[in-house]
């Protein structure tokens, strides 16, 4: 039976004992850098968010530390809600003192978080697709990895025109929302320049799932090429339905904006065959940076990296490289280091443009191959062209402050 004194001393010592390892650890530890990652793990974009989150997290694991600071990944799950994302970023920045933020699951979230982080003097690296992110809504604190509409269109439409000089009649199916419209207007610019006959356009809305009407209209125009200007599931749906109406027989199909592997898998080899896709990343392109991504993904999943994982990895990588180059976690120093920085990213040597903080990298034009030609289950498409096509900085609408 323990006497009272021993119980009391035990109780007094216990908290100290619990804290001791922490105290000891802190005395020996290097400093820790908390980086907030804003992704949606539930809600409508859960599929996208989960993949991006994995990529970002694994990059942190692989790098381990930056400029002598141990990297700590702090996930902010916004549940697919832009409002929630902003609130969580606010909270992380004001109440946890986090200044380094990465990630977004869609452009609405990115645009909102971008403003929030800038106002609170942090730094933000994201993977949104909207032009505005490095266009009219650009700011000194934000950097973006994937290339956007101008690049996607110019890196896919131009090579295709060059490849098929006799394919003069192009029809477009466009999502009638900001992103789709941007793809379309970029297409029209290229059409005008190259003397392409834009035989018609069908707009569809954000929540459409039935495209037979648009496909019928497209068919009636006998186009040589059908260019699809939308994103996400809608791209997959239009491709699938267009093929089901036999469009592949007489028309080339181009999905200007695709996320690559996961969409190819959603379509299956029969649908992918002979269809052209644009993509920001492809695991089949062998580069030193790509190999790094492949290594960690293989370790975690046993499979090749898809776009989401590579993209998530890339935004982490950018921040870490910036910290390393600046050899500090001070925000203005990192921003300065990142502007003009060249590093080995997932698609090869990538460079960050100082004028709008957009990464200059390849965008691929890919062609689906026949099932019999596939070397393995992931070998669904071949890269036909890789182009760095970026809008001239004066044309982006970006007006950046001189300093933070």
């Amino acid at each position: 039976m323990m006497d009272r004194r021993r119980i009391l001393t035990g109780m007094a010592v216990a908290p100290l004992a619990l804290a001791a390892p922490g105290i000891i650890r802190r005395a020996n530890a290097e400093s820790v850098l908390d980086v907030a990652a804003v992704y949606s793990l539930s809600g409508t974009f859960a599929n996208v968010g989960a993949g991006l989150n994995d990529g970002s997290k694994w990059a942190f694991e692989q790098y381990g530390s930056a400029a002598g600071n141990k990297l700590n990944y702090v996930l902010l799950d916004d549940r697919g809600d832009a409002g929630e994302a902003v609130r969580k970023v606010q909270e992380a920045m004001t109440q946890r003192g986090i200044k380094h933020v990465i990630g977004c699951t869609n452009s609405a979230i990115a645009l909102a978080v971008q403003k929030e982080v800038y106002a609170r003097k942090g730094i933000y690296v994201n993977e949104a697709g909207a032009d505005e992110v490095t266009g009219k809504d650009c700011n000194k604190a934000s950097f973006r990895w994937p290339v956007a509409c101008y690049s996607a269109v110019n890196a896919t439409v131009r090579p295709l025109i060059d490849k098929f000089p006799n394919a003069k009649r192009w029809y477009t199916i466009t999502g009638q929302y900001v992103f789709g419209d941007s793809l379309l207007s970029n297409c029209k610019d290229v059409f005008k320049e190259k003397g392409i006959e834009h035989v018609g356009n069908s707009y569809h809305s954000l929540s459409d799932r039935e495209y037979s009407g648009y496909i019928a209209t497209a068919l009636s125009q006998n186009p040589d090429v059908l260019a699809i200007c939308n994103f996400g599931n809608q791209t997959v749906d239009v491709v699938r339905q267009a093929i089901s109406y036999g469009m592949k027989r007489n028309t080339k199909i181009l999905a200007v904006w695709s996320t690559g592997l996961d969409q190819f898998q959603a379509l299956g080899p029969e649908n992918c065959e002979d269809v052209y896709f644009g993509a920001n990343f492809w695991h089949g392109v062998d580069t030193p940076g790509g190999r790094r991504v492949a290594e960690i993904v293989k370790q975690k999943t046993g499979d090749v990296p898809n776009y989401l994982q590579a993209c998530g990895y890339a935004v982490s990588q950018m921040l870490i490289e910036g910290i390393n180059k600046a050899n500090s976690t001070d925000i203005p120093a990192i921003v300065k280091a990142l502007e003009g920085l060249s590093y080995e990213g997932p698609t090869g040597t990538e460079k960050i443009r100082p004028e709008d903080h957009q990464v200059v990298k390849d965008y691929y034009l890919m062609l689906g191959k026949a099932k019999s030609a596939m070397k393995d289950k992931n070998d669904l498409c071949d890269v036909v062209a890789a182009t760095k096509a970026l809008p001239p900085p004066e044309k982006t609408g970006c007006q950046m402050a001189a300093s933070l």
Binding site: L41, D77, D81, V86, S107, L111, A130, D137, Y177
Partner: protein
């Protein structure tokens, strides 16, 4: 919602205490969100609890309020209070207009109408993307707001403002329920045909209730935008209407305090659960089923049952 003499004071005290304590239990930004959605949930609760009208479309008015406030603050340089007033008015006017036609239908038809209009609002916002920013939302709102000279930019003052707004709406709703107007609403809820027979212009009362609910939702939308510094398109999506409904039900529609309880519960649970299990909505769904079957008064009714127990004990003496 029933107006009883003793309980409003107790309810008011509880709500006030909860509002004061909240920023000490949860981070101030989360507390602000709780207050904002509590305001939104009040718009559902007042319709369902006071008049017996189930609306699946309060998100429409919240969304309108949000966009109106956002556009005015950003493009017209309007001040905080005027923008919020306009948000509230826009909710009221739209709800009044739509309500005057919607209330002609009853039961499931009323519900479907609220759904249809909510969807139309969402598609309209997407269609007018030049004004609303479409799927990207409306960003670039000013971040510094002054309330009578005091800045409310830091999280705690922001919360103070949001909590104050909610409390004012809460008091308003209490007053409305206790007023003669509220009694007529209760009569309509209990037996509409008899109220009609007694000579009350039932449609007008219902429209007024719908307009009031729309005003509250519009205000909540404006508050949300001030808090976030941008207008998320999700504010006008169907999911928002569903969320407000779920919050109102969890808290309990029998009393306006339920909105705060429901909002706090839903927000805190989703916040903590979502980090453990991304499929936390499944648990919310199960909770809803349980509530409908076993606790239709929501969580607030638990409090009422306890206080009823007390009353029974005291009257025994």
């Amino acid at each position: 919602m029933r107006a009883t003499k003793r309980l409003p004071n107790l309810a008011t005290a509880i709500v006030l205490a909860a509002l004061v304590v909240l920023p000490f239990i949860v981070p101030a930004t989360l507390a602000s969100q709780i207050a904002i959605f509590a305001t939104g949930a009040l718009s559902v609760a007042i319709l369902l609890g006071a008049v017996g009208l189930l609306s699946f479309g309060q998100g429409l008015y919240l969304g309108i309020g949000a966009y109106v406030c956002g556009i005015l603050v950003r493009d017209a340089g309007m001040g905080l209070l005027s923008a919020l007033l306009m948000a509230t008015l826009s909710g009221a006017v739209l709800a009044g207009l739509l309500g005057s036609v919607i209330v002609r239908r009853h039961g499931v038809y009323f519900v479907m109408l609220t759904l249809a209009f909510a969807q139309m609002g969402y598609f309209a916002v997407l269609a007018f993307k030049g004004v609303t920013g479409g799927e990207n939302g409306l960003s670039g709102l000013p971040r510094q707001f002054d309330l009578l000279g005091l800045s409310i930019a830091d999280p705690l003052s922001m919360y103070g403002f949001m909590a104050g707004a909610f409390f004012l709406v809460f008091l308003l709703v209490q007053r409305v329920i206790a007023s003669p107007f509220g009694s007529v609403l209760a009569a309509i809820r209990e037996n509409e045909s008899r109220s009609e027979a007694l000579g009350y212009p039932v449609s007008r009362y219902k429209t007024a209730a719908v307009a009031l609910a729309g005003a509250i939702a519009g205000l909540a939308g404006g508050l949300h935008v001030i808090f976030l510094g941008f207008v998320p398109p999700s504010d006008i999506e169907l999911e928002m209407s569903q969320r407000l409904l779920v919050i109102a039900l969890i808290g309990g529609i029998g009393s306006p305090g339920g909105a705060l309880v429901g909002s706090a519960f839903y927000t805190i649970v989703s916040e903590t659960l979502s980090e453990i299990w991304p499929r936390w909505l499944a648990l919310i769904a199960l909770l809803l089923i349980g509530l409908v079957l076993f606790l239709p008064g929501g969580l607030w009714s638990v409090g009422r049952r306890i206080s009823a127990l007390f009353e029974r004990n005291t009257t025994h003496d």
